[in-house]
Symmetry: D2
């Protein structure tokens, strides 16, 4: 699918990976509707990037934001191309703490709610609109990109809720691609290693040091633009479908 003259929804697009994705898509001629629960001043919206305050876990919220996006599309004539689900939260909490206390069920549910259920919530509603698109020459109607994490495969101590949520994203990628294949909608996930964003900035200094010693090449955290570039490749390459792509500089974190 071409990026230009399309409208894409980018959740979590007010920060980090989502922000770089939105910027990259806009720079290639797309309009981008950012769905984020924490958006910059409305004045920051530009001609091609519009910020809409949305909590991805709330059905009604997302429906309304989608309606807003659709009326923007009607004005701009840039058809809905798909969604890149970059909203997400992380935590560091062990199953059982050293004082014997146990991981709060609420914490686990919250992370799963935002990262897994929120991602599904947005994806299904966008998918349902995409099925109404006129297919392009390839028969394609849209692309859904979800963000997992290498923590889905090699979760660290303290990452049980996060790894559960991201493992869920990995697990639903193929069946969602199968559900939507008949409509010419692709579904692909990306599993980033550590990238330089707000999320990684919150890591304790000690952990960060240990991780630095485990990097291969590049010997630095990922840049959000590199993530955004891979998003672009996935959107524009019709044979990429139904799987999760790692982008992690060959790092495999051992015991931290």
């Amino acid at each position: 699918m071409k990026v230009a003259n399309r409208t894409f929804i980018v959740t979590g697009g007010a920060s980090g990976l989502g922000k770089a994705t939105a910027a990259n898509l806009a720079s290639h001629g797309a309009n981008v509707a950012v769905f984020d629960r924490d958006i910059p001043a409305p004045s920051s919206s530009s001609k091609s990037i519009k910020y809409i305050k949305v909590d991805v876990t709330l059905e009604q919220n997302v429906k309304e934001a989608l309606e807003q996006t659709l009326s923007w599309i009607q004005d701009s004539g840039k058809t809905l191309g798909g969604v890149v689900n970059c909203s997400g939260v992380s935590t560091a909490s062990k199953t059982v703490n050293q004082d014997g206390s146990v991981l709060d069920l609420d914490v686990f549910e919250y992370v799963v709610k935002v990262n897994l259920i929120g991602t599904f919530n947005v994806s299904r509603l966008v998918a349902s609109r995409l099925t109404l698109n006129k297919p392009d020459k390839e028969g394609e109607r849209g692309v859904i990109i979800m963000v997992a994490s290498v923590a889905a495969f090699e979760g660290q101590t303290g990452q049980v809720p996060y790894s559960a949520s991201k493992g869920g994203v990995v697990g639903m990628t193929l069946p969602m691609a199968r559900d939507l294949a008949r409509y010419g909608i692709r579904v692909v996930s990306i599993a980033p290693g550590l990238f330089e964003t707000g999320m990684s900035a919150s890591l304790p200094e000690k952990t960060r040091k240990k991780i630095d010693g485990m990097l291969e090449f590049p010997n630095r955290l990922g840049k959000p633009e590199e993530f955004g570039k891979l998003v672009e490749e996935i959107i524009t390459n019709p044979m990429i479908n139904g799987n999760t792509i790692r982008i992690d500089g060959a790092s495999r974190l051992g015991k931290l």
Copy 2:
């Protein structure tokens, strides 16, 4: 860890894979506390298998059932050995239906709630009790077994919620093993292919036929006892830890 003279909790143990697991553990000298939301008449409890009505998604429910189990342990002298999480539900619902309607968020949340959050809820509460065990000669204090599915890896159309929940289980296996390694508690998941249980019995005839044509060897669905036997191997083999084991007769379901 030895099975004999231990008490194991088996969730979902009133039916299918859990029932066979409970029977096998009991036959090897263990006591089994079955946590199931749908239990047989109380009179079906035997000397070594006790049915306790529990909804695994409810914190308070599980805590109370655990207390009951602990007082049984006090009486029997058979230490808590761990938990086998066999409770689970499945659905068949596409992301977008042919009539254009979209998968209910409630359905997705329900499946994730039971299969992923419920499994974590029980596991963390059991883990917290296991840390109090006296370690055996190996330094081992307990074993947590979770049930994923091959649908975590090759989910079929209609399985998005189920694959999401089971992918979540796969994803949290390694980090939970890492969290609990310091206590000598192992965490292992099993990914069954199709087994002969209530769950598979509910498949539509047409799907069942297609699946039959895709089996390799054995050319039949799995028997719950075969699952139960693998559970026993995992409990008794201390080097198995932190990963998910497929048991599926080499079948890989293609497009259904």
Copy 3:
């Protein structure tokens, strides 16, 4: 790494995936040295694509072809950027045939020799030259791309030699990336599903029909240019390293 003003070696570049890769790199300003054992008339070489007759399994052969390439580089001033290993052969032979005869060891060795050993042979020799490059601003000295196959993950009956060779490629991707990280050389593999090339053209009609029924979206074989496009993304995205990327239109072949 930038593609323009670099020289890339593409093995197997006289046909199929390699040919499309070579054409794409050349169209972006690179010179391409095609190493193939079966090359078109010398007159087909163009200003930017040079065909060199090489059997990738033969050490001396590859060394000489590399020397030729290096003298071309000296003339053109387009530094060596890396290699895309597209040479490969396939077979369809069962471990034990219906007449009781057993798969020839020679057949197995031949496929492993070309696909696995040949790929390693070229990669190591190119790697050794790349270490001598002046690093770019990122510290990068080169990229090695290898071609695996989805048969490394879901090999079909009759594919034991092929799956063994491709599994080998998958297996060596990460350690080779680790070996070469200190030099700023990345190593990435691609696992294609079925693409329209000479290799897939040789499939029996019956098998081809069955496969057609198992495709998801796109509902066709891959086009070599789509493979070539992914190669370009890998070369130009420095965070992609040490793993294998599927490109298969979400298809997972079941029992054939």
Copy 4:
């Protein structure tokens, strides 16, 4: 398949994992023909374990050893049950060394020859004999077990040849299971983490120390008997087929 009253071939059974496997099978009533290129004094053969000097890479060698085994079977009446391929070699050599020299092609070929080609060579010849077995009640005629390694998934620097050979084993597991399903022969691989054997004893002290710091639970290398116990489970559990099972105490080695 029952272990008792069967004859199993164990390659590499003169040492390490193979030795423990042979001992365990013999202790459960099986006869074991050890195929190893380095065997103890002939007098070490016992009633149930027979050492036969074999190089697994040599077709004729293996054929003769198989004939010897078959005549032993004729005498003992203990039918051929299958093979456990434990022979193997490892190396530590980088793709490019610090002095600029490149990994010898011979080294790569040798490791692939023994670990991958040798394993296939023995497996196909044993498979061909197993097809002649009378099926048991389950329709089962035999079991082929191969030994991969976690290095197939997370190969370390210096492990390119070894990871290639073990990735090949992982890759051929499913298609071999599919080839042999019609005969009721199962094919399963095991991917061990670090175990206490001759192979791990040869690790440099420094590497060994680093690895020790990356273990989870158990906080020690694996014991060969634990590997042997998993072999037994695979032989006796008919639903385990076509995949590779990790046994590694939850360790995932990071950068060494």
